[in-house]
Symmetry: C5
Subunit: 303 residues, 5 copies
């Protein structure tokens, strides 16, 4: 989302180099047998791979669309997290009555805004199946941090703490009843965003579709040399490899896009987004110990 | 949604093995007649099955899209159920005034959160046309359970009970008027989710479309041997079977995806999702008799 | 939505039997002339109908998508009506203060819930261009029923009566000001659902598109015999009829789907849905004179 | 939206008759030269126009989809305007306290409902680039009408007047604070609908896409005669004209659909919709001087 | 969005002239070698580029769709900004109690409306990576302007200032508690719109997809001459160039559409939209020093 560095071409090609090697050997073998040993009567009309090619194009198009939609939805959800984090911070700062501009209100503000930052990091880490609570001690009080250990779902527990602080704010009179409801709604939207991320993470693309597409693709590639051997001779080998690479890369691409939270170099740059949120929220809070801006993680490429 | 185990390939192939057997016999018969008995002048130009192949590809693409959309909507709805269950629990816990941290409030909280868990199980079971009230005695009071028997639609009755408890909470002064409205909205969203599941369950995919697609597919498969017999001879048999399998599997796949609540091994893992909701809500509630985590049902595959 | 009975195949085929008869005669005439009288030099390269076939496939795909979207939106709207009817009933029952559990409140509840049932039937009938007020006397008071006669749009008038009852409830103190607003929002959503149904009903699919698709289809069917006559001889006749049937049925199917409120056997089963709503709402209301469950209308097929 | 009369076929064909004439002359010239003067060696393999035909089909499909989406969104927005107009009227009538059923409240109600009718007409006229204020004197007071002259955007000014009347209603005690907010939300939705219409009106479809599609189409049509001249001779002329008409009509159709507010016979029937809104709102208001129902404008066809 | 002037054709063609030159030389070389020096046995069956052509069409269609969606979403977001700016101004003017029609309220109104204008300009400039604060001194007080310098994200800081003014208004009694919440919601929507723009700006289209499409396109163009050289001879050169131009322009078009905030002549006309907002809001405010209407920037074309 924030990283414009391209993926080196080698990285991409590396993903299919094993398959391409096998295809190279396979098509070369056919060419050698056909040219040197015996003119096999094996050439088939090009129309047969053409039918298969059309079907596969449609299937790959269908799959690319679904994979892109998952990837784009993941970005949208994290975009919504950015928005709602800012909204929550704005509400925390602007709703709490200014006549109470004393220590207790100040602490409530700071606690809630920092907890929101912590929530963003915790969500990113838990989606990548890392320890969600690691590194949160900078943002949370010791007591909050300890109570997290009881929960499997750390971000949910943080939202729960936010809601408890809201009740405390209402009871102390820092916010009024309408403001509590309105900020609870912001928490509800954050809860929805969290649930959407989990849904995308936990719902696998129907694996049988993947299987069929892969199976059809193999059938197509196996037939291709027989369809063009009569016209090209040895030139058939690079042609088959190039066309296969073209299809395989699209398939591989879709596989990458469809799982946007897999802790791979190509997933959603959640740490970088959380860093931006931290910067913005700290500036809103006039936070003294302003951290130096986080470098976006260099390990992750942007897809 | 939570189950990553693949469907064994055999299970998938099993779905079309009967059709494939017939096609095997059919195409073998044609090959035998053509090769051994008489060179029939029956070969037809490949362009004819090609036209049909294009049409069928488009139709299957259309159908796959609609089926995937239904399946994905089902997942989205259950994702929303997870979110709103958590939101309801958070609101129940954080809205009820803490100065009333006495027994009566505690009971209200426990009753409402447990009823929400019951609602999730009841919805899953009623969508699978099982007895919706079975197993709910762990979560509901005897009185609530009895009053359910009067209703055809059990989850709706549970929402109704939640709303009555909210009114009781307002009358007792545990929650204020804004909080009642806000929690009623969460109930409204749960009611919407329930209605969406019922809509997907009860709306069949236009059966005439299915019929046309199947009919066109049969026409295409019947023609295919005549289009390739001249080029392949006996090799025609595996080719026709492979291409037919390719199309038939896609059709079968769409049929599976389009009915995501049918109590088949491949449907939405509603029991597992409800189990996750139960775990999260119980942790929020500090529930002592924390159940051991439910094993996700082993009978269901994830699609 | 609730009716799983398939449309008999004959009903479907009946829709295109006239067209197919003409095509049969047309293609048979060509075959007869070509085979018996003179070998006409009229055969054309198959590529020409192939180009047309691709175009038509895309157009039919476009049209099927739009028609399906209309049909699916109609179902979604009626699904939303189910949800909002239940929500309104839940709110009517749970918002009215229980200390007023006396006769007047009871009457208000009963009046509003029954009027909601009446609204569902009235909307269904007015979308089918039947008399919207017929059969509503079971649900409405005589006074309400009379005041409807002044309105062209009966369902809108019913919503208006609901809103007036809400004001009365507020003035009598049965509900508070927040509850009035919240229930008015439910009315707003019902008003939106009604407007969406009217939009789908009143917006015709661009008729020029239909015309072009039909025109291209005719061109394609007229050319088809000339493209295959050389290869098939008399076998051309069943082939042309089969392929034409395939295309014509898809076109006819789209025409049916795109108008989901036309009082045809294949439209949205609104009466059955309203019957389900009636059952659920009456059970919530503990309605003594519980009607026997309405049989879904046998005249309508489910598409 | 409300007009079912079809566009006469001549009107449609008239849109492309100039292009078709040129194509007729062009293809006839080629046929004449080829047949009478010299057998040109200019015939090209049909595969070349086939490739182009596929590309153009996809581009036209893309364009048709986008154009249809714009057209359908325009209808949806006007559907939402119908809904929100009814909602506003319902709220105006049901929120104002009935104990104030005196003259002042009555005037407020009448003023606001009539202004809403005026707003619908004004929006339709301003989208068609007509004078938005013409004909509004029937619905607005002289003072309101005069204050409009200061604004470029008349519908926005009317919404502003509605909001001012709401404040007046609050200050006079006719409505309470929650009702003011709720009705302001209805105004916000009307403001959104207005902005969406302006967006569709002011955002042109990317003109370079249109250019490319037109350019590819010309290339395709220019090649077509050379691809089929060998097979058809003089029959090539009607064939090329028919296929060209088929493509050109689709392009023309998309051009019409994509601009739904252009004061052409085929645009959104905004005046008719506003007429329906007027009828419904006047009936809700018990308006004595009920106007005879407006005839839908006969100048506009429904697309 | 507001600029209807077409992009000159030369500008468009200029984008691909370099590529077309190379293709011209390449195809001419092949033609020369083939015709004059030696009849190379290099012609390949047209079916091979046809398969590739189909794949590329689908990929370009996929890409065009995604690019168009990004472009259209950008327009929608700016449309929403127009709506919410008007809504905010309407609320500022209509919510503040008229009995306070004194200087202080007047100043609050003016400050908030002008700050909203400033926000629109600042967002546009920050999306184009220009100095977001330049030119805002016309709309903001000196103190507001200074406090912006502390923030990286200027529009976010402006929203923060709006929220603080709302609190001040509540504390002074100019607005009530419900109105504060309602106007805060408008700020939340503006915050969402801002976040959506940033998401579109910062999320690059998956670069590997672009790479594959470009790679497949090159393969296709390289093969094309060999597929048609036998039929066309020297006429092959213009044909290859024309078909290549057709594909390349579509690819280029998609690249332009997919980045709608890049300060190129073809991006979203944000300054013009902000100018319209300024005009409307100033008219609502009865702003004396009404600026002459901003000329839309002549540098930007509308796409």
């Amino acid at each position: 989302m924030l990283l414009k560095k391209n993926i080196p071409f080698g990285y991409v090609l590396g993903k299919v180099k094993f398959e391409l090697l096998i295809i190279l050997v396979y098509s070369a073998t056919i060419a050698v047998i056909h040219q040197w040993f015996l003119k096999l009567p094996i050439s088939i009309p090009l129309a047969v791979p053409t039918i298969l090619g059309t079907v596969i194009s449609l299937l790959l198009g269908f799959r690319s669309n679904q994979a892109y939609d998952r990837w784009w939805e993941a970005r949208q959800v994290w975009g919504a997290i950015v928005n709602d984090s800012r909204t929550l911070a704005r509400q925390v700062l602007a709703f709490t009555e200014s006549q109470f501009e004393e220590d207790e209100v100040h602490q409530l503000r700071q606690r809630m805004v920092r907890r929101q930052i912590a929530w963003c990091y915790a969500l990113g880490q838990s989606l990548r199946r890392l320890n969600p609570a690691s590194g949160l001690d900078k943002y949370l009080s010791r007591r909050d941090l300890e109570s997290l250990s009881r929960f499997n779902n750390v971000p949910m527990a943080l939202l729960d703490q936010q809601a408890r602080d809201l009740r405390r704010g209402l009871e102390e009179g820092f916010i009024n009843r309408y403001q509590q409801i309105e900020m609870d709604r912001t928490l509800t939207r954050l809860c929805d965003a969290m649930g959407k991320c989990e849904r995308i993470k936990n719902t696998v693309f129907p694996s049988t579709y993947s299987l069929y597409i892969h199976f059809s693709l193999l059938l197509f590639i196996c037939m291709l040399p027989f369809g063009v051997i009569d016209y090209f001779g040895f030139l058939e080998v690079p042609l088959v490899v190039a066309i296969s690479a073209c299809f395989l890369l699209i398939e591989k691409m879709a596989i990458h896009l469809q799982d946007p939270f897999e802790n791979k170099p190509t997933d959603t740059p959640m740490t970088a987004i959380a860093g931006t949120i931290e910067r913005d929220l700290r500036q809103m809070l006039h936070d003294q110990d302003m951290v130096e801006e986080k470098r976006p993680e260099s390990f992750y490429y942007i897809l």
